[in-house]
């Protein structure tokens, strides 16, 4: 008897619920892609839902590659990626796909040299040489000349890189490809590469653990992870010749420096940007991948509205989560691009 009553109540509730949803015009959007911006995306989607209770965006952080594939297979409404889609991928897609930068990420060099606590300066040549396996000792002139006053030991350098395919790796090797022709021809850039030397650690935490535990190690780590874990790290020389330490301001400055020469489709690498003394050179956008045409007008309007909110009000949430904000030049340009979505 009691069960019957409970069942009736449940049935009524369920019926009421269905009606409410139908009347509210619930819009459900599915998205998938990059893991690096997942914390800020989930915060944005949550905040946006609080302001617009009828919009729900499900985001699965399955990785950039998976995001691009699912978008091309049309199993999601939009995708997200740490690296821009290639020309070939864009050609394969049935609908033209637009790139929208959302936030910025950066890589920092972290190291563990016994007896050295100073913040080291790294030139592009030194970083490329170390990762190519040509500079093997910490007291190599390429390193010591940029660090006067620091006594570096003759220990072997143990190179550490990410083992998992990742946007963090993409930024790092994209930078090395720009500053070293040898890297460009021998290794190239992708989310995983054929590393000339080194040990692979899984995830930022894996690289950080290996660097921390191995005397003489150097590894690259995503800036947010380094900030949140209070790690110390080195400065890198930018194209203007200044050694810059990565922080949210210097990363945004890199985007601003690149904004002048930004192509209309936003598929741009901002590593080693020219003519900006404040810019940190190993940084990148991460993108949302939005189809140019939506068959569903409601979804289209929601996406456009969300994008506008994301690059304006949404940017206020970035710093709390240690993401670098988009510079205003880029925001203005994106506003124009949003109008293109049909």
């Amino acid at each position: 008897m009691r069960f019957t009553k409970v069942f009736c109540v449940l049935a009524v509730l369920l019926a009421l619920g269905t009606v409410a949803v139908a009347e509210g015009g619930q819009v459900l959007l599915n998205a998938a892609g990059a893991t690096f911006p997942y914390p800020i995306y989930s915060k944005w989607f949550d905040q946006y839902r609080q302001a617009h209770p009828n919009v729900q965006i499900n985001y699965q952080s399955i990785g950039s590659g998976g995001g691009i594939r699912q978008l091309m297979d049309k199993t999601v409404d939009f995708g997200a990626s740490d690296g821009p889609m290639t020309d070939e991928q864009l050609k394969q897609a049935s609908v033209p796909i637009l790139h929208f930068p959302t936030v910025l990420g950066a890589d920092i060099p972290s190291y563990n040299i016994p007896g050295v606590s100073a913040e080291l300066n790294f030139t592009p040549e030194a970083l490329a040489g170390i990762y190519l396996g040509k500079i093997t000792k910490w007291n190599d002139p390429a390193i010591t000349s940029a660090n006067p006053g620091v006594k570096l030991p003759g220990d072997d350098i143990v190179v550490v890189h990410r083992s998992d395919g990742s946007g963090t790796t993409y930024i790092w090797v994209d930078y090395l490809s720009k500053v070293s022709p040898e890297w460009q021809s021998k290794v190239g850039k992708a989310t995983s590469v054929n590393w000339p030397v080194g040990l692979g650690g899984k995830g930022n935490e894996g690289v950080a653990a290996l660097v921390k535990q191995t005397p003489g190690a150097i590894g690259y780590i995503e800036l947010i992870y380094a900030i949140q874990n209070h790690m110390s790290y080195g400065k890198v020389k930018n194209a203007a010749g200044v050694f810059v330490k990565a922080d949210l301001a210097s990363v945004s400055a890199a985007a601003a420096a690149a904004a002048k020469s930004m192509p209309d489709d936003f598929r741009v690498s901002i590593t080693n940007p020219p003519d900006n003394k404040a810019a940190y050179p190993i940084a990148s956008f991460t993108w949302l991948l939005i189809p140019e045409k939506f068959s569903d007008a409601t979804k289209r309007d929601v996406v456009k509205n969300f994008l506008k909110w994301m690059i304006t009000d949404g940017q206020q949430s970035c710093e709390a989560l240690a993401y670098a904000k988009l510079p205003k030049e880029v925001v203005a340009k994106e506003m124009k691009a949003i109008a293109k979505i049909q």
Binding site: T191, V193, L199, K202, Q213
Partner: protein, 329 residues
Amino acid sequence: MATTPNAATPAELAWSPRALLRRLGNADEIAHLVTLIAAATLLLITALLVFQLWVHSAEARAKFGWSFFVTRTWDPVSGEFGALPFIYGTLVTSAVALVIAVPLGVGGAIFLAELAPPKLSSSLTFVSDLLAAVPSVIYGLLGVFLLVPLMRTTIQPVLKKTLGFLPLFQGPAYGIGFLTAGIVLAIMVVPFVLSVSREVLLAVPRDQREAALALGATKWESTWKVVVPAARIGIFGSVFLALARALGETMAVTMVIGNNPTISGSLFSPGYSIAAVLANEFSEATGNLYLSALIELGLVLFLLTFVLNGLARLLILVTTARGSGVLPT
């Protein structure tokens, strides 16, 4: 009735709907059907798995052919893929794991089944079963934060000093690499060897022990010469189970193996295993050839497991045919 010319043969009769229904009234028939479906489903899942791996690896198979098995390069940028370093790493780490885990597991099982007081035996078995239930990522984390520093500062230098003349223990000691991965795997598979072996040893009939003792054998002689040979097949079985687990282990291995596709004779060297590269690169793999090559690696792992299992079964057949000791069937 049976003599009329156009009556159904008994075999045909057995599958006519009415006969089937009648037979289903019988509990034995139902049990037969249900278990048959269960077994067939298992086979079907395996077949589907292989089929999917085969279909989706078509592009890589067409491009690389058999050279996939002997190529050492893995370069996602230039689209050149070979499985050799990964096959090597998978085999080496699994071998290290078995070399450590089998003596430990079988030795422990003999103690628990034959020599230990029953109370101690059951509580120790419980602890070992608990080990089997720990998620592999926990082993990986323990490996990274405890074992790796210990290996680098203590175990590897000691091995270098004592056994450094062997090519196995040369080269720089990073703390990670084949040996560390093998040790973590060994810790993970010991409970399988121990638990299954203990059960099998306990299942050896009491008469056999008593007969051996009555003939004047000591306790150890009866254990080593009668009980263990009698339980041999089951013990082999536990080792295969451990091997299968070691071959396919992903998370714990990738955290301590160094993830570098090198082929080196030294166990101190960093390496890579098939399961680890799949876990690392699958999610961010862009491009069809890259994805296809990763799926072909999955196929290779399946093949490897298949071949090793086949070889192991052959080994049992050969040793059983020679027939030392009576085997409980």
